[in-house]
Symmetry: C2
Subunit: 359 residues, 2 copies
């Protein structure tokens, strides 16, 4: 157990941009929410998954918004304070811990905004080890874990509670409700016991985000390459170094969908990379050959600053390193690839582990 | 109190097509659901509003579907059996009665499909005295009554529970959930006490539907005009007799929106009527002058059979009588006209009481 104060949020936030794989929502917004809650209620204990008793109850906390809303209007921490008590009232359960659903992007830190007012710890784990765009794309789904009972609250004071018969139905209802709210929403979902969490979750995901953030911060301070530092830290693979030539991007059912086309730098100007994204980067092709796919992590980092570039922001002229990081072993199974591999997103590609590129 | 058996459903169903004002969903489908439940569980008591104790709890039961679904797939009575127990479990309330939200269309009889398995009576009242297309357009809204807590269940086994801060939000979330389900859904909504019901509801709405149905049935048996019989029964006004020349119809946000253009018959062929509809007929113009608007009831009845023609079915060649019936006094107030008058639906028209046409 260690205490997360507002300073500790900084590295988690920075590292969560890397784990966001180009998506997951703006971590800075999540940081503001969490900081607000920690300033009001004090630092939040972060506990290891092994410290959680088998019979304890924990629940994911995450935000989901109507598309484009976050740009106009910041979400408030008040919604996160409401969501766990609402789920407790409607289920009769008492929750001892909250946990991130995804350690990538905004939702790496939103659980702190729920934990602080409730006076309960955050578990150092998540359901992805990265970010994914749909509610059912979490490791608990691989073990038969149910997204519901879940609660979603919005800034208008509305509370939606759902009991579904599949996690795909939870995604359909949750997405529809977030759109109907026209706002940012906060959710408590995937209630599970400590024993279930130990089987189903990605261990140490919050610490991983914090370490990646510290790695980038230290590299910058030492005028070293943040890209090289991240690759060394995580057994990552440099897939490409290039310049963004063209971006095709559109909004589909609330998702940011498209491609970024890159050309090589310096001695390599004839090489071409295409990044395919749907909220997150999901596949990379080098000279028309697939070299990386989800569920592995694919990130475009700004070459000098090491700043990960979200798929909403990538545009002509950026000089980037495209890196790949291996996904958690939960994902590198037949069931994991079926749930979150390239075909799940409609790409006619087989899963391609990032390490194969290095060989 | 009287018992409603499957034979008694017939007249209610036929009369609810008139009160549907061209909308409200196919009453025949509602009848199949209710008949199925009554065959399984026995006849259902129908009680007058005055028989309900002030401290009793009652709740509206109604169905809402994804557009077009009902045409492909009939809803099942099983969903209606689930909805009241789910609301009881999630609120801790016990419901003594169910009540129709709308006596027009499908939902005039769906409450019987919930009442029969629960072994509780249906109250002879509703929240409209007709059909309207949105959840907030009910008389309880005029008195500050809340649509929530509400429950919606679908045929996939999903249960959504909502606590909202306005009835417009309930409509937004409810509509979104019905669309997400891709199916027919059943709802329990607007929980209220007996005392509140006596203030807020339209009395005798189920009996009115039954009497209108009997009126049409008897007129047909006697080879009399069903149109004349309905007008005499309800102090109605014959607005026009004509032939459908052209129909403009489109689907907007799940609503059937458009106009039907009619020309006069026989000696009156130069006259023109336009019916404006959004799921229900909402305004009638005679030679470009507004002669009737919502919340009054406007119906196109097939001239010979007296069969009310839904807005989804009206088409070139139909010979119809367009009739107007006065709406319940709840609606003929400033608040009622604001909630369900023509401007609420985007028409640049003032409310026009049907009786004014006769003068």
């Amino acid at each position: 157990m260690r205490l997360i104060d507002e300073h500790a949020l900084g590295d988690i936030t920075l590292g969560s941009t890397v784990l966001g794989s180009g998506g997951g929502g703006d971590p800075y917004v999540g940081m503001l929410l969490a900081r607000d809650a920690i300033r009001k209620h004090g630092p939040v204990p972060l506990v290891e998954l092994e410290e959680v008793p088998d019979d304890a109850n924990l629940v994911f906390v995450a935000g989901m918004g109507a598309p484009g809303v976050m740009i106009e209007k910041l979400p408030r921490s008040a919604e996160y304070a409401r969501v766990v008590p609402a789920l407790e009232r409607l289920t009769g359960l008492a929750f001892d811990y909250v946990c991130p659903a995804e350690a990538g992007g905004l939702n790496a830190v939103t659980p702190f905004a729920a934990a602080a007012p409730a006076g309960i710890p955050v578990v150092d784990a998540d359901g992805m080890g990265r970010a994914f765009p749909a509610l059912e794309m979490v490791t608990p789904t691989l073990y038969g874990g149910s997204c519901t009972p879940m609660v979603m609250v919005d800034e208008h004071g509305n509370t939606m509670y759902l009991e579904s018969t599949s996690n795909k139905w939870s995604e359909a209802y949750g997405r529809a409700a977030a759109l109907a709210s026209g706002a940012q929403t906060a959710m408590a979902l995937y209630p599970m016991t400590g024993a279930e969490a130990k089987q189903r979750l990605v261990r140490g995901a919050v610490t991983l985000a914090a370490e990646l953030g510290a790695t980038i911060r230290q590299a910058r301070a030492q005028h070293a390459s943040p890209v090289d530092a991240v690759l060394a830290k995580q057994a990552g693979v440099l897939l490409f170094t290039g310049k963004v030539e063209e971006v095709e991007r559109r909004n589909e059912r609330g998702w940011t969908v498209g491609k970024a086309h890159l050309s090589g730098l310096d001695s390599d100007t004839s090489s071409r990379m295409t990044l395919h994204f749907q909220n997150e980067n999901l596949a990379a092709e080098l000279n028309n050959k697939v070299v990386a796919t989800s569920p592995d992590l694919i990130m475009a980092m700004e070459l000098d600053s090491g700043e990960p570039i979200p798929v909403e922001a990538i545009r002509y002229g950026y000089r980037v390193a495209v890196i790949g990081l291996p996904s958690d072993p939960h994902w590198r199974t037949a069931a994991g690839i079926e749930l979150a591999g390239p075909r799940r997103f409609g790409y006619d590609m087989d899963y391609c582990a990032v390490e194969d590129f290095a060989r």
